[in-house]
Subunit: 711 residues, 2 copies
Amino acid sequence: MAFPRPKPTTVETMAMERANPPFNIRKLAIKMHGSEKNLLLKEKFMAELARHPAFVLSDVHDLSKDQIRERTMEKFASMVYFVTHESIDTFTKRMELVGIADPGFWTRFGVHYGLFLGAVRGGSTPNQLSYWIDKGVLGLNGVIGCFGMTELAHGSNVAGLETTATFDKSSDEFVIHTPHLGATKWWIGGAASTATHCSVFARLIVDGKDHGVKTFVVQLRDTKTFGLLPGITIGDIGKKMGRDGIDNGYIQFTFVRIPRAHMLMKHTQVSRDGVVTEPPLAQLTYGALLGGRTAMVADSSNTTKKALTIAVRYAAVRRQFGKNDKGVETQILDYPIHQRRLIPLVAQSVAMGFTALKLTDMYEDMTAALDRLEPSDPNLEDILAKLKETHATSAGLKAFCTWACLDTIEKCRQSCGGHGYSAYSNLPAMLNDFAVQCTWEGDNTILALQAGRALIASAAGAAKGEKLAAGVAYLGDKNVATSKSDGSLSLADISNGFHNVAANVVRKAATEYAAARKAGKSKEAANDACSQARFVAAKVHTTGYIFHMFRAYVEEQEASPETDVLAQLAQLYGLWQVEELQGHFLRYGYFNGAQLDKASAKVDELCFQLRQVAIPLVDSFALSDHIVNSPLGKWDGSVYESYFNQVRAANPPPKEHPYFNRLIKPLLERETGHMEDPGAEMDLDDELAELAEERAAALKEAKPLVHKDVE
Amino acid sequence: MAFPRPKPTTVETMAMERANPPFNIRKLAIKMHGSEKNLLLKEKFMAELARHPAFVLSDVHDLSKDQIRERTMEKFASMVYFVTHESIDTFTKRMELVGIADPGFWTRFGVHYGLFLGAVRGGSTPNQLSYWIDKGVLGLNGVIGCFGMTELAHGSNVAGLETTATFDKSSDEFVIHTPHLGATKWWIGGAASTATHCSVFARLIVDGKDHGVKTFVVQLRDTKTFGLLPGITIGDIGKKMGRDGIDNGYIQFTFVRIPRAHMLMKHTQVSRDGVVTEPPLAQLTYGALLGGRTAMVADSSNTTKKALTIAVRYAAVRRQFGKNDKGVETQILDYPIHQRRLIPLVAQSVAMGFTALKLTDMYEDMTAALDRLEPSDPNLEDILAKLKETHATSAGLKAFCTWACLDTIEKCRQSCGGHGYSAYSNLPAMLNDFAVQCTWEGDNTILALQAGRALIASAAGAAKGEKLAAGVAYLGDKNVATSKSDGSLSLADISNGFHNVAANVVRKAATEYAAARKAGKSKEAANDACSQARFVAAKVHTTGYIFHMFRAYVEEQEASPETDVLAQLAQLYGLWQVEELQGHFLRYGYFNGAQLDKASAKVDELCFQLRQVAIPLVDSFALSDHIVNSPLGKWDGSVYESYFNQVRAANPPPKEHPYFNRLIKPLLERETGHMEDPGAEMDLDDELAELAEERAAALKEAKPLVHKDVE
């Protein structure tokens, strides 16, 4: 061979890592996925995607935004077959996998099937639903929808939206109108290039009275020619941080008329005479929000598993420093500091995965129980309370899991050193695609504060002796706040610790709230005053919740080598979070300094032990090379060859240098004689002296000289 | 007006924010920039850039990689005029500003002038330097350089590079060769499309003996035709996370011959007969590293100021929720939680800026002193010790300041809600461009560990009674580790607190190291064993260092309203970091729980007070709208109009829909009749049953079914 590679090669190193795992990888994978059927389905989907012509992933980093959009629409058409043939359950699992492979496409698909169709289903009378189904909303053959909620000046405050829908009694129509720039619909996925209809959230105005925001189906484009209908102005919002596959647009309505029947009237009705009938106080739809947030916890787990598959495999075969007497450098995964960087993140990823599985089970159990029970059944109240509590906790889970995922992706990227900066590592794209999860479907900070507010309410209820749902029951246990560790650092010890600190930080927030109210502040002002404390309460409670879920899962399992490794991961996750939150554990006396040192030493030890099985662990995440889409994370460890080949394939040398003659040649051929004597420096002090008047004026006006666009 | 805007408009709101600041913005800006001359120079540069045709910034998000590359080379040619006419000092300041505007271009320029020319200057004999200057290295007229250090398999471990330079005595040449794939030069900025020469770091082999890594100047391309020279293989590394302006390439050398004189021989010489002369133990070049790292601290401050200019201005004019009786919603900067998100980051940004200024002054003082003193002067030892200590601290400063900056950019982006996901907010590009700073010029984690190692050495020296440099003198004060707060939370109180916790965490690391050595571990293994403790020591020491620098600056200032606001910012930075690191402050008893509560309350209060002057504060960062390049961060607050206009300008509607006929029309016109009865779901259980044999085998083999590319 002309260029002999040093031994062991990365492929040989990976094979060594994979030899003789102490547990059965497939059995562990089954546990990670909840059931063997789930795993088999996922493998089936991965195989289908790997061969699907529109799901080529290796070239995505070099596509233009327009090329990505077009490829997204190609995927769209193929998915319609599945959505109209598979059960909802199966199709949901298919889309979960598609979302890991291509978040941009998943978003476009979800905008029609999740958001638009969800709005139509949730807001239509039976007649209206039949109508839209006849129009083709289920199969995209007649209606391709988008979701017109967000406006340029209003995101989180949906009640403040400013698009208007004014009833015209004479023609039995609503007139949809954008009254000013800030009311322009913005961020509307699918509007720019692919939607025919839009579920528009607009203020219902009848006889000059504003009835608040309702939902209206507005056709945007002619379904035959795709031309914009009269009064509809659409533009492309353009380049985003990620997810360029979905064509977000802005929409302005200028006196657009729609039939009255196109207002979705399941809840609020408007009669021919313009009589507005509001429903009785709307049942809070806990279920829909809980489902969406559980999916985001699952997505956070799946995405971190993908990132860690890359980072752990790379770290197992990358060697740097520490050359031994055979001339072989040390695998970076053998450095304790690198174990510290990655292994706790693996534990967290797995913890989020089991939290999502348990949440799903809990939600299914609660829904089934609600269906079975009579309204008078005493258990009904308990189950409703549990549903309400899980919903409140899910706000915190969405916030802290998506933040943890974004942080994990970037830590994985940095752990790959220089190669993590290449687009082909796929980690930059994962970061840019995932980042929006921290903002949409509820801004994370606002959700965390909502979770904190609910915890304060639960604490207040506990103080009144009310019965609490399981997830917050610890708030009612008087001994919890002053408990101390038994020093064992067991899963039970860690759980008790989290109950202690969560109870204390929730009480701190509740105390601040009560003090603010007593001082005369309104509820809103009092909530603002304790917002930082509410945030901390939500963080600690949510972190504990994830740990409790993981621990519960582990303790339900039969003894096996797979359960052993899960127990180690659970202990690592718990103790690492204790370390991260050690201020609270010390403050409230659950752990003392010596015990924290012991916990840190245990974290080091668990990181070392789990490093020995790091490769089998990420293998159990069961992601195909196609989905992982990174030469740094290939199953066989062929990092350098795969990376080199992908770089060469994606960047064929141009026949002609695009700008040598115009820009480089003149530079190279410049005559030295044209340069001034380098010794004759320009005297800037003279130049600056000329500005003396302006300088004095600027000092007087107290603003910098250059503060806006220079003309 | 057809579309009347609600009042107050964002522009009116911004004007209100800017009215009657309690301090003189320009005086504060002068302090932030170190001197009035620095500020005036910066404003001059900003004005020049704003009009420069190649420095148009508003369209950068929609350029292709190739277009960005070409525009970078246009900038290159124009900068050459300045570099050959201005003093080094002035040009350095110009480049500092250019780096804030366009990191990709700054990198390409720095690769030639900083890295390549730096290697040539630092490694050449006087004759060699003359030779390369004659060839045109100072003005790019004959030599455009790149820096060939990193290889595919070696980044951090420079001593482990594998490119070879074998001496051929018969022809008086070195033969440069890439022995295998992993030795391929990788990440070489400028190699792909714009460099003619390369400073190649290769192993010197003479008579079969390996003398380690030396520097060789290798010509890559013909300077007339730009064709690759024989034996040179170059490819484009392609798409990166950011900084696409610099054309990184890979280089493989296949028996490339260069004259012996092209090895840079200031330190190691090779004679005509192949006699290798090594220099005496090389003087550690503290200065070069210190200069580079100070620049990265400054860049972290400048970049965070740019991000905060956007986020703070947006938060001041964005209104959401909290409608008052006039129908006006609340500015989000008025929410305590939003103040908590941004104002501490403003304090940190300013702290880093003053740290950079003070580091620069300290370095200049030390260099001047070293020049003046005789080798026998007793002060020489002190100054060398100070230089060595500042160099060690600078490793930690580079790591923690760049991490803080990356974190700040993302927090600023998220604080802009949905609009932060638009490329035009400029925050995604800032994140993607900046991220590499955490990896290059020393991987942050490795640097942090180096800083920790130096702290352990200082602690050991202190234990032996050695005199310590000022920055680590606290390690020698026996009372520091058990000191307690006086409860005032003053700047002095905070300083003492940081000395306490830093002394304790350094001692912890030193104790772990000593224990590992005593247990028989080698120095390397002992360092590994205490790596987590070293990391924590570096973090706490470095954070304290930044605070001490900021406090020192403030206490040097004469009393004025500008000094008052800086003092508030310093106290906020200190107390916020106390909160972030509260575990340590509690653990080592400097603060008790009640004092920490008081500190948190003070943080809330300072955030509120500084919010009142948030707009004048970011105005004092003195960044033109052109440099900030974000409609969300315009000086006049015209957020919605600017954003809308930029989106429309960047995304003109295409004449024809690019894929309606091919992909959307068939979807819309699909006949419903072709769908199967939706009730007939595919029976997956049957499908899965067929896989039973494979499933059993996979369980036995213990690996997932789909684990590599599907054929």
